[in-house]
């Protein structure tokens, strides 16, 4: 029997989950709190096998709660429940030492499976988010710089490549010269290229 602790402030969700888990005999909810402060005290006292923690909670949210729990005991098995599917969240949570991440839009089966996996010592993160994280990690630096350019900056870079001056670009794009110069400066920063000649070369090589 896995001893699970639930920190979740939405009553209906918490009760529904407890009802679903009571059908299966392998997971037992040994405690439940609707805010992070109470959860912190109870988890310390109850020492559950796995902690299932919601991100948005009053008083102390799930992130801060996880941080504190992992500071007490880095081996604590924490599974985060969230409505946000942002890869940057997951990256931050992984850095904290959280071992799993389940979206609330996932089904009960996914949640149950991830609790079992965490209990066995494995980790479980939503596959769609893992894919996004991998894609980010493998991107070469030059491509990173290029993709950081906004649509408008690409347009300005293309005109720089055609040899237009600031004033000519401002006229063509119906923008002020201040706006054009800001775009130019940001392009230079993003690409790490200072001189106009090198910008022209870059734009032409990229076929802009």
């Amino acid at each position: 029997m896995i001893r699970l602790y639930l920190a979740e402030d939405h009553q209906l969700f918490a009760e529904g989950l407890m009802a679903l888990l009571s059908v299966h005999k392998d997971i037992d909810i040994i405690g439940h709190a609707s805010n992070g402060v109470t959860a912190l005290q109870q988890i310390d006292a109850l020492q559950p096998d796995v902690c299932l923690i919601d991100i948005n909670m009053p008083e102390m949210d799930g992130i801060l709660l996880s941080e504190k729990l992992l500071k007490q005991n880095p081996k604590r098995k924490i599974l985060i429940l969230s409505t946000y599917s942002n890869p940057e969240f997951v990256r931050n949570l992984k850095t904290l030492g959280v071992r799993g991440f389940v979206l609330k839009s996932s089904g009960f089966d996914v949640l149950r499976k991830s609790i079992l996996l965490l209990h066995e010592g494995a980790q479980w993160f939503e596959p769609e988010i893992e894919e996004l994280l991998l894609a980010e990690n493998f991107e070469p630096q030059d491509a990173d710089r290029f993709t950081a350019l906004s649509r408008r900056e690409l347009e300005v870079l293309s005109l720089i490549g055609q040899g237009l001056t600031g004033n000519q670009m401002a006229e063509k794009l119906f923008l002020s010269t201040h706006t054009i110069e800001t775009h130019r400066k940001n392009i230079q920063t993003k690409l790490g290229i200072r001189s106009t000649a090198a910008l022209i070369k870059y734009a032409n090589e990229r076929g802009l």
Partner: protein, 158 residues
């Protein structure tokens, strides 16, 4: 209210609701950029508005009070675009360059005369939010050609 006003009101309520959610969760926990991405995603979901965000050089979080102010400013600009501009596309860029943060906000809407309407549409509000951070707002717009708002402010390392 006619149908388009109702739709607009829905959109504005949605922006407010999302912003409220975010200021208590995503913005505080994960910082400005993820919060703006979520905001953009929520606005383009279920509407024809296209929303792009690009960023460069922003490592980690900024001072929290500044992140909140910048988030509120973008919220204000989006509200203006939805209310007045009849735009299809909003783009936001955040670039950090040698201790200067540059936030560029652009829409492809109807634009406005910067000499006349500037005070009426909440821009005064934006300036007062920027003041404590020595931030500067420059507006580039004219009737018929969209609007670009460029905000620049010095960032002190935390």
């Amino acid at each position: 209210m006619d149908k388009s006003s109702l739709l607009l009101k829905d959109a504005m309520d949605e922006v407010r609701r999302i912003s409220h959610d975010l200021s208590s969760g995503v913005l505080v926990n994960f910082g400005l950029l993820p919060a703006l991405r979520e905001l953009g995603q929520s606005i383009s979901n279920g509407s024809s508005m296209q929303f792009d965000i690009t960023a460069f050089g922003l490592q980690g979080k900024l001072e929290q009070s500044l992140e909140i102010q910048l988030y509120r400013i973008v919220q204000e600009l989006i509200a203006n675009t939805l209310k007045h501009a009849n735009a299809q596309h909003i783009s936001i860029d955040l670039t950090m360059n040698e201790g200067q943060l540059c936030l560029t906000y652009e829409d492809d809407g109807t634009g406005f005369n910067t000499g006349h309407t500037a005070e009426g549409i909440g821009l005064q509000n934006i300036n007062s939010r920027l003041e404590p951070y020595s931030g500067q707002l420059v507006i580039d717009s004219a009737p018929g050609r969209g609007s670009t708002f460029i905000i620049q402010l010095p960032i002190n390392p935390l």
